[in-house]
Amino acid sequence: MTEKDQDDDPSLFLAPPLAEQERMVEAMLFASPVPLTVREMEARMPHGCDAAEAMVLLRKRFEGRGVSLVRVNDAWAFRTAPDLGFLMSREQVETRKLSRAAIETLAIIAYHQPVTRAEIEEIRGVSVNRGTIDQLIELEWVRFGRRKMTPGRPVTFVVTEEFMDHFGLETTRDLPGLKELREAGLLESRPGFDGPPRPVSDDDGDDGVEIEPGDQDELFE
């Protein structure tokens, strides 16, 4: 290819036409099992390519198709259109059924992240079973976040990109009903109250950890 020679001499270098770049982006996204960021794609493409622009074209092309481009945070992936799920019964993966506790815990982590175990317990009013968070981590839907800057510096939990990909969320801002919940003040914790007794967890009777308002904002900026 003459491309090689061009690379050696930058003055002669020409980025491939945009249509060609679109093909490249299409191929990479098709081949990748995980969502790819624009930056990751660009790193593989010849010099001078603009993956973001190619993405714009590609998205338009796949609008309303049987497979479409979905965004997961900063990354992109091809996924089949949800209305065609009925055709794919054979591809459906048997997922372990999550317990009610696990589902609730997952939702609390998603809506309140970063959230500590003590906060999850406060919201649910019961102690979190060992194994519940473990299961969510194993599913790769939950991971450890930054430690909270409160006494005891407890670890926090946050949801992952796999979680977003699984539930078809572009960003955590797209969580269903998030705006309403926030407006209703239901995502705040109201510190300073001797509310009803906190659940008695076996091994940490410790911290009355309160969320500082600032911590929450970080998530939903």
Binding site: R79, P82, L106, Y111, H166, F167, L181, F193, P196
Partner: protein, 267 residues
Amino acid sequence: MTTEPPLPANSNDGDWGVADRRASEALIVDLDGFEGPLDVLLTLGRTQKVDLTKISILQLAEQYLAFVEAARKLRIELAADYLVMAAWLAFLKSRLLLPPDPSEEGPSGEDLAAHLAFQLERLSAMREAAAKLMARDRLGRDRFARGLPEDLTATRKITYTASLIDLMQAYARIRTRDDFRPYVMDREDVLTMEEALERMRGLIGFGGNWTDLTSYIPDGWRLDPKRRRSATAATFAAALELVKSGRAQLRQSETFAPIELRRTDTE
């Protein structure tokens, strides 16, 4: 704020008490299905058939106390969480019924009730959110990733991977391993019965007279208390062995007196 006169106790029991008690017993039937006291409160709250924001916390407290009472009558053991909540609600109820005491510090009964209402609303909201989340078009169920892995077999590079769980478990394994290490005795300061027996078999031939057993303790085992203890025990056990095999006799004049050993004269 108008302070209503405190209601006489049980005055309105007749109004909803019976139905409520019945409902409480119905709840107890599937107590296992509940996720703690807050969950029970939420379920009880729904029976009021009003918006959660308009719920009567006083009535809810009554309902919950009836629930606990019913459990007690049915001799059902409630977990500690449930009882702690009952105690707290009884306290809340008294706060709500009595006129506020101006000298009292801390949040008022109304504040506490409002906070409980908030917690119930929040839990309920999280449940709805969870249901909405689970009802979304999910990957692997409604939406699918590419099924066919790319199998261009050009250059194959091997890379190694590990998950955070692997990492943490590995670390936990190392750090907890010592806790589970089987107990090993430090052998340096232990004289075994075999060693003592070996030694005494050689010496007993000279033991024609009654001799204090402690004189059989080897040199180097008499001063250090730890070593002396071990050597004494081993020597005593070895002596018993010798007696059992008929090669020696033991005697002790009284409790705690020295134990003496003598060779059995076979002739």
